[in-house]
Amino acid sequence: MRKFQSALLSWALAGASTLALAGSATAAELTFWHHTYPPATDFIAKKAAEYTAQHPDVTIKLHEDPHGDYEVKLTAAIAAGNPPDIINVLDYLFPQYASKGILAPVDPAAFGQKSQADLEALYQPSALSGLTIDGKTYGVPEEFNTLALFLNKKHFADIGLDANDPANWPKTWNDVFELSKKLQKKDESGKTTRLGFNWVWNLDPYWYAQQYWPILVQYGCDVIGADGKAAINSPACVQAFTETWQRMITDGTGGPELATVNPVNALQDFSEGRQSMAIAGIWAPPLYSDEVKADYVVAALPQRDVAKPATLLNSYALAVTSGSKNQKEAFEFLRFLTSDSDGYLAATGYVTGLKGWADTDVAKQTRGSAVFAEGQKHGSFVWRSPTWAQEGTAIKNAIEQFAQGVPVQEALDQAAAEIDQIRAN
């Protein structure tokens, strides 16, 4: 009897195991890697739970690392042949990743569309252009960003200006630097206690590029010329850097020595009320202190020529890896996730780039959404190159050199020589 019971139990267990295995064969666990940005990871986790509730056969395992570390670990995972299903990739890396066959082309059907053209029609013009190579789109925007100038209302009031009045917004770079002098505060010992404005300093090359790219476009400066050679030392580029980045150093109103460097919050001085104006994207406010959150105003990005506006487009996008065994499920989850444009904007400050994002109630309640929506019309992505990281580093080094007094032309000549050497190898 006892033997019979044991046999029955074994049979039942074996049956249960078989059923469980059969079940797991159809279930999909999607691994999703994202750079650390707490509001975004919280939002994704919430949406993932919602999706699993609707699709019990799909679970999403979220993993995050700070920007910088994230890219290193991602590359290592890909090299080890164990890529996540869904990854978060900066737009300038798309040419490199796509050319190596790491990314799966977006399946329009997963987004409920019949063709590539229909897929593009879902988004703002240019929203997919930074993610499209040779006519194939390899990702969808999680953030379709542009830049604006954030102003601290209280600081403006200190110098008798109402920051809510667009007439008081600095329109040109010259306006920014003149206003910066008025907003800067020093103590009795001459130590700066409040900055008017500053660029980002001592961060990775892409942070620098986000800030100088619109200026280079405004001045007609090409990083790489039509002949494929470095043009960053051209007269237009020298003028661009001299009249903007270098200007603040010579004015004594900014520079690396006055900046608080924090790779996790590049805007820490503005975030904590020690800086009156800062260039940032619509994603920035969740990082601000409560006091600054209550007091910021979003103005349009300053221009060289207000009649010919130019700004930056950038996209921390979502893509599905070609090595994923769950591509269909991954794209379907991405559709579910990114279609919640209002949810993204309210929870994270991210603009998904879908058409009409700025017309919803949530967008209208978001400070500066109209400024960002307008900026998206005049933006462009940073230059494309398989050796972007090295080229960006060469320009970053040049900036850090002329911040210390090296003539701009000399620093950019050196950067150009380095870029040519990088491209020649």
């Binding site: 490199q96 190596k100 001592n202 990281a389 080094n397 050199q401 210390q404």
Partner: protein
């Protein structure tokens, strides 16, 4: 006889089995990566596509590789200005500790503290202390001196890192020197004292010859550690400003993981490894105890 003969062989087998996990660990996690580095240094490899054999391309390009030559210069400067002063300071501190009585234990603990602190926390703390508007410059201001751009000037940043290394490395080597000093038999000094030897004479004829193996150890360790240093530069300056503190290890890290040029980075690693090996062997040979081997 048979038993006796088979004894060592049996022990050898068991000994080998006991060592096997450690040997496997070394083979997999140390030997294999080193050999793989040599292999990769002969290939173009970006982690994302299969390696492509390029022979000695990267080795031949080193002489004209500006980034490598600059980093090599920065590394050599860093090691020279770290090892020599640290050797002197640690020797003096270790010697001073031998003169203390009961309080020696307390001072020894205090001096050793920097070595047991997590490197990342130490580097971040120094980064804050050396900020242009930070406490160090506040102190200089109190003394009527102008603030120094410790970490934001290409001229000052290498020196700031060297100073921090003095603080950090001295603590460890002081303890090694102290152990060396305490191991010198007291009767050597007593005999010297009976012969009328004092001060410099004792140092030259008793202390220094007795300390030669310890000095050799500290010189080799501090040189190797100096050449391998990474955390302070990565955390405090990330090689900047304008590449002025980009030592070889940091260049290797960026070349491999930021620029995805694993072949070139492996070439740098092989050169660094060879350099460390040659310098270490040379130092050991120069500082060997000739009398002991005579």
């Amino acid at each position: 006889m048979t038993r006796t003969a088979s004894g060592p062989s049996r022990y050898g087998r068991w000994g080998f089995l006991f060592c096997l996990p450690a040997l496997l660990f070394i083979a997999i996690f140390q030997l294999y990566p080193v050999l793989f580095s040599y292999f990769i240094s002969l290939h173009e490899y970006d982690l994302l596509s299969p390696p492509r054999y390029v022979g000695f391309k990267y080795y031949l390009g080193l002489a004209s590789d500006k980034a490598f030559l600059r980093s090599l210069g920065i590394t050599i400067t860093y090691v020279v200005y770290t090892v020599v002063p640290v050797l002197g300071i640690a020797f003096w501190l270790g010697w001073s500790l031998t003169k203390l009585g009961r309080s020696r234990g307390v001072w020894r603990t205090l001096i050793f503290l920097p070595s047991v602190m997590p490197l990342v926390s130490v580097a971040l703390t120094w980064k804050l202390l050396l900020n242009v508007q930070g406490p160090v410059n506040d102190g200089l201001g109190f003394l009527g001196m102008a603030p120094v751009s410790w970490l934001t000037s290409s001229a000052m940043a290498p020196w700031a890192l060297i100073l921090v290394s003095w603080w950090h490395a001295t603590s460890y080597y002081t303890i090694i020197f102290l152990a060396g000093f305490l191991a010198i038999p007291r009767d050597h000094y007593e005999a010297a004292a009976l012969d009328g030897a004092r001060g410099w004479s004792v140092l030259r004829h008793i202390t220094l010859p007795s300390m030669k193996p310890t000095i050799a150890l500290v010189v080799v360790l501090s040189t190797v550690n100096g050449l391998k240093t990474f955390a302070f530069q990565q955390i405090m300056t990330d090689g900047g400003p304008a590449g002025s503190t980009q030592i070889l290890t940091l260049l290797i890290y960026k070349t491999s993981f930021s620029f995805l040029q694993m072949g070139k980075a492996s070439t740098y690693s092989v050169v660094l490894f060879t350099g460390i090996l040659v310098i270490s062997l040379l130092q050991i040979w120069l500082l060997r105890d000739r009398h002991r081997h005579a």
